[in-house]
């Protein structure tokens, strides 16, 4: 599994996203521009320039026509993927830490930072799917997080719920139409913030990553914790591989603590766990800083990781990866075929 090293950013990566077809890869970093890459060979498609601050987050519509990016310059910007044209800028009082399109790409949610007297909030914007059409300024919905600010958020299946992860380690379920809080459960250790939340294919469950060194698989409908993956380092990101029942966790000693430990003790590895059995099955080394984000190709052929070291590493899985199965899994497969 030879990685393709994408060195297009000058500063630490913050988020990576594959498009639905798995052929394009979007990466954002603290260096103020969005990069788009061809995932199969690592060639750069282009950059989207315009942000005036570190970019925290990016997302792409299901049809790969538009991307949205959220930045520390207090804006969400909408771009045309093909041309790099800026379609719309929404201004907010504080930085935007997370954006995500819903299943159809008709709505966009953004998580805003708590700062300077402003409470953290989750806003929902309507998106006009027509690439040349007018985008509305109006916010469809605003959910104010007055208890603990949201750090990550996303849309559940059929846009039924908005699920948010908080700074205090809890996870909330909101009604996506009304913004009413339906549930708030302490999923992770108290005051160990959630650092990532990524969806399964059908958005019926999601995986969380937290500073409490664990990652959890949680059901969307009732926030039941299905699986727990313990690790030995604070986690920054977690994703699930389609096709195979694995999860990938990324993390490492926080950047500020790195100098106090020996280099090999930094734990800058992507960790693979079996999604169902919760066993650790392998690690992939390579980054020389903590992993800030990991993302799996929706077609299941590859995964990418972005680190504090400013590199994106795209790994295409080998045959061995697809052949690897537990005996009980093979047993089940044989039973299914009969």
């Amino acid at each position: 599994m030879r990685p393709i090293l994408l060195s297009g950013h000058e500063r630490a990566l913050t988020q990576i996203k594959f498009n639905r077809d798995g052929d394009l890869l979007f990466s954002v970093a603290k260096d103020q521009h969005v990069c788009a890459w061809f995932s199969h060979n690592g060639e750069r498609l282009g950059t989207y320039k315009g942000h005036q601050g570190a970019i925290w987050t990016v997302d792409v519509t299901p049809d790969s026509s538009m991307i949205a990016s959220g930045s520390a310059d207090n804006t969400i910007r909408l771009w045309e993927v093909k041309t790099g044209r800026l379609l719309k800028t929404w201004e907010f009082p504080t930085a935007v830490k997370r954006v995500e399109f819903n299943e159809e790409g008709t709505q966009l949610l953004g998580v805003t930072e708590k700062r300077m007297g402003h409470l953290g909030s989750i806003v929902v914007l309507n998106i006009n799917p027509d690439i040349n059409g007018e985008q509305s300024d109006e916010k469809e919905l605003t959910i104010v997080c007055d208890e603990s600010k949201a750090t990550v958020a996303g849309w559940s299946y059929m846009n039924k719920y908005i699920i948010a992860g908080h700074e205090d380690g809890s996870v909330s379920q909101y009604d996506a139409k009304t913004g009413e809080q339906l549930e708030n459960l302490p999923i992770h250790d108290l005051n160990m913030q959630l650092t990532d939340l990524q969806w399964s294919n059908d958005r019926t469950y999601f995986i969380t990553a937290s500073k409490d060194k664990t990652s959890k698989l949680v059901a969307s409908r009732d926030l039941e914790v299905l699986k727990t993956y313990p690790s030995d380092t604070p986690l920054n990101s977690a994703t699930m591989t389609p096709k195979k029942d694995f999860v990938i966790l990324g993390g490492g000693q926080a950047a500020m603590d790195v100098t106090t430990t020996a280099a090999r003790q930094g734990k800058f590895e992507a960790r693979f766990y079996h999604k169902i059995f919760e066993d650790e099955i392998g690690r992939v080394r390579g980054h020389f800083g903590p992993l800030n984000t990991v993302a799996a190709d929706p077609t299941g052929k590859s995964y990418a990781s972005g680190g504090e070291d400013g590199y994106v590493r795209v790994h295409h899985f080998d045959k061995g990866f697809f052949d690897f199965s537990y005996e009980v899994e093979r047993e089940r497969q044989r039973a299914m075929q009969q």
Binding site: R20, P62, E103, E104, Y157, M158, K160, N201, D202, T204, Y205, A219, R221, L226, D232, T260, T261, A262, Q265, I276, F277, Y326, E327, V328, E329, E331, R332
Partner: protein, 742 residues
């Protein structure tokens, strides 16, 4: 509960409801009335006086007064001796002291003091007599004391019979705020026996035979044991810092750097005499204190008026136990050694043993049978530095006879360390010598062969470098020495060290030959030596060192080929394995010598806290990082109950025994694998069942809302749309050959 302000009812506030005179206050009056005539705290009653007539009385009073004045202030007029009608005294007297404290002192110090051959004083507080002896308090008829029904105690050594029948060892772990005791399961997760939050406040310690687990608290020390882990004993030494058991677990000494202060209302275990003391020696069986001691004031100036260098932090253990639990001794540096006989805790022959200049002493760790000496004896060794023109001395003293059985004169000594071998067969004295100019240093090892006739002393060749560590093979006759070129100071990078192995030469018969150098390994960072408790295997490790953290496992009796150069020696050294444990702070062998644990304790640093388990060969079996891991302690085992013959028999038939054990092990592994597979099968089924329920629910909800499945839509769209053709050209070189055509 008293009504709070918020809940006051009207009736509570209404004051007009009652007449003050109607209230019956007699009970309160009785309770709080000031009883003027009861200020009897300064009075004591003295019993046991001789019977005297009116004429003899002043003489007795005068005589008595002398004794009474020794503890406090009183005068002749304050002694009242009642006389009977027949003109003779009633053999008791009342005495008034000037303060209650003096009266209390009189009770404490004068009670049971003999007045003459026939009479013994009994002194009691007046108030006590009132309290206990008042009419009605003493029953007229004798009531035999209630004897509590016998309750069988828990079996304190039940753990030795491992329920799994595998003879596993237990260990205790202190991590985070909780302490747990576990069975060692080698590679697998240790099996928990008991786990308690906040079981100890500072550290844990096993008693030497493994009977008790000791927890240390601000209020004192507690011992726990038995299958239910109930509290067995409590030694309430406030602010205790350290404790040390006697080798046979009969006694324990506790120490606190804060002097004990006994509150006025008394202390549940300690008496007023213990006030101001730092050490307490307790009897484990009864849980009672035997005697307490204060810290010794170390002299700050030497005999020649020169200020002495500060003593090393605090000397611990200060009280050292003899191997048979019969004596405990303390050193007064430079002056004497005080040997106390247990359990009475009185000085042996009522005097300390004066040894001028004595610096250190060490009891033999076992009761030694010297050649040509049939008598029972305990030995301790001590050393004294050069004093004036007298040479430095190492002495070996036998207790209780106090006879010096061997003494060795040494010159140019700057320091000496005493190392007993575990059976007391050898005593190695590591002597640091300086040249006349005091510029260069050298170390010699003087080895006393304690069990041989006349205690011969052998000198092992001079070592130029500074010896930083020395360790005897337990129950054996080999040792390991670690040396370094410079003295280990406060340098950032500790200097390189060398590890040297020594063993006796081969000689005919049963005798042990001269000690010879076997091998030296140079340019190491190693600083610690850990012998297996059974001997033969030794771990040489680099502990708490930034340069490295390696553990080297050596076999001293390697069964492979022996180098020609070592053919006359009784050892064959072989490095079996090297392991690296980042940040290791401690290493400990299990009591059976089968496993070694190394751990990184949060007490020393916060990185990579956790433990590793290795087998004796150095193969790593298990690794567990644990947040805030503090301490690991293998539970010691008492000595085996099998006789020498029985042990020999087992060794002879070892193959037979191990066969059954190996079979059991194999079965267990197979069983565990089966269990894992079953568990996985269950998890897989559970997962797919959950997925099915969720998918059905999703489908149903979709239909309800009249939505189509986006996944279906995507595939439909993909079929309609133009298919994209991606061409990938792969070039693969199968073979390259070069032919030269002529």
């Amino acid at each position: 509960m008293a009504p709070s302000f918020d809940h006051l009812r009207d009736a509570d506030v209404d004051e007009d409801d009652y007449d003050e005179n109607e209230i019956d206050l007699s009970d309160l009056r009785e309770k709080y009335e000031v009883q003027l005539e009861q200020g009897f705290d300064t009075f004591v009653v003295i019993d046991g006086l001789p019977e005297v007539t009116e004429e003899q009385k002043p003489k007795l009073v005068k005589f008595l007064l002398k004794k009474l004045k020794s503890v406090g202030n009183t005068k002749e007029e304050s002694i009242f001796m009642p006389m009977a009608d027949n003109g003779k005294s009633l053999r008791f007297a009342f005495v008034e002291y000037s303060t209650p404290a003096e009266a209390a002192a009189a009770v404490r110090q004068l009670d049971m003091v003999p007045l003459d051959k026939k009479h013994t004083l009994r002194v009691n507080k007046m108030t006590d007599i009132e309290r206990f002896g008042r009419e009605g308090r003493v029953e007229e008829e004798y009531q035999p004391p209630m004897i509590e029904e016998f309750k069988e105690k828990e079996h304190m050594r039940s753990w030795l019979a491992d329920p799994s029948g595998r003879g596993r060892d237990q260990f205790a772990m202190y991590r985070g705020e909780s302490v747990g005791v576990f069975w060692n399961n080698e590679k697998d997760t240790p099996e928990n026996v008991v786990d308690r939050q906040h079981w100890t406040e500072s550290f844990i310690q096993w008693s030497p035979l493994g009977t008790f687990l000791t927890s240390v608290h601000q209020q004192g020390v507690q011992l726990w044991g038995g299958p239910s882990w109930t509290r067995q004993r409590r030694f309430a030494h406030p602010f205790v810092n350290m404790l040390d058991f006697s080798p046979g677990e009969k006694y324990v000494v506790t120490w606190s750097n804060r002097p004990i202060s006994i509150p006025d209302e008394g202390h549940p275990q300690l008496a007023a005499d213990d006030d101001g003391k730092n050490y307490v020696i307790w009897d484990v069986e009864t849980g009672k204190p035997l005697r307490s001691f204060a810290n010794l004031d170390l002299p700050t100036t030497g005999p020649d008026g020169q200020p002495l260098k500060a003593p090393p932090k605090f000397p611990w253990p200060a009280f050292k136990w003899s191997a048979d639990d019969k004596y405990v001794a303390r050193l007064t540096q430079g002056q004497s050694i005080s040997v106390y006989e247990l359990p009475r805790m009185t000085l042996l022959d009522k005097t300390t043993i004066k040894i001028e200049g004595v610096q250190d002493f060490e009891w033999a760790p076992a009761t030694v049978q010297r050649d040509g000496n049939k008598k029972y004896e305990q030995l301790f060794c001590y050393w004294t530095p050069e004093l004036g023109s007298n040479p430095a001395k190492v002495g070996l003293m036998s207790i209780p006879s106090k006879e010096v059985v061997r003494s060795l004169n040494l010159f140019s000594v700057s320091d000496a360390k005493l190392h007993w071998q575990s059976d007391g067969t050898y005593l190695a004295v590591k002597v640091d010598r300086h040249s006349k100019s005091k510029k260069s240093q050298a170390t010699t090892l003087e080895i006393f062969r304690v069990k041989e006739k006349g205690v011969p002393v052998e000198v092992v060749d001079t070592i130029k470098d500074t010896v930083i560590n020395f360790a005897w093979e337990p129950k054996g006759d080999r040792f390991v020495v670690i040396t370094t070129t410079e003295p280990a100071g406060q340098t950032a990078v500790p200097p390189k060290t060398s590890v040297a192995f020594f063993c006796p030469e081969k000689v005919k018969g049963n005798a042990v030959g001269n000690f010879k150098h076997l091998r030296t390994l140079e340019k190491k960072n190693s600083n610690s030596i850990y012998w297996s408790p059974r001997g033969r295997f030794v771990v040489v490790a680099t502990i708490a060192n930034a340069q490295g953290s390696d553990l080297e496992f050596y076999d001293m009796d390697f069964e492979g080929e022996k180098p020609e150069s070592d053919k006359d020696l009784t050892a064959n050294l072989q490095l079996m394995n090297v392991n690296d444990h980042y940040g290791v702070t401690d290493v400990q062998w299990d009591p059976s010598g089968r496993f070694v644990t190394s751990w990184a304790s949060a007490w020393k640093h916060a990185m990579e806290n956790g433990y590793h388990i290795y087998d004796f060969k150095g193969e790593q079996l298990r690794e567990e990082p644990l947040e805030k891991f503090k301490q690991w302690a293998w539970r010691p085992r008492p000595a085996t109950l099998l006789t020498k013959e029985e042990q020999k028999q087992i060794r002879k038939n070892l193959r037979e025994y191990s066969k059954t054990f190996e079979q059991e092990d194999a079965e267990r592994v197979a069983g565990a694998d089966q269990a894992v597979v079953e568990e996985r099968r269950r998890m897989l089924d559970e997962w797919y069942a959950w997925r099915q329920s969720v998918e059905e629910e999703l489908e149903w909800e979709r239909e309800e809302l009249g939505l189509s499945n986006p996944a279906d839509a995507a595939t439909a769209k993909g079929e309609e749309g133009e298919g994209e053709v991606i061409e990938e050209i792969v070039e693969e070189v199968l073979e390259e050959t070069e032919e030269i055509v002529q």
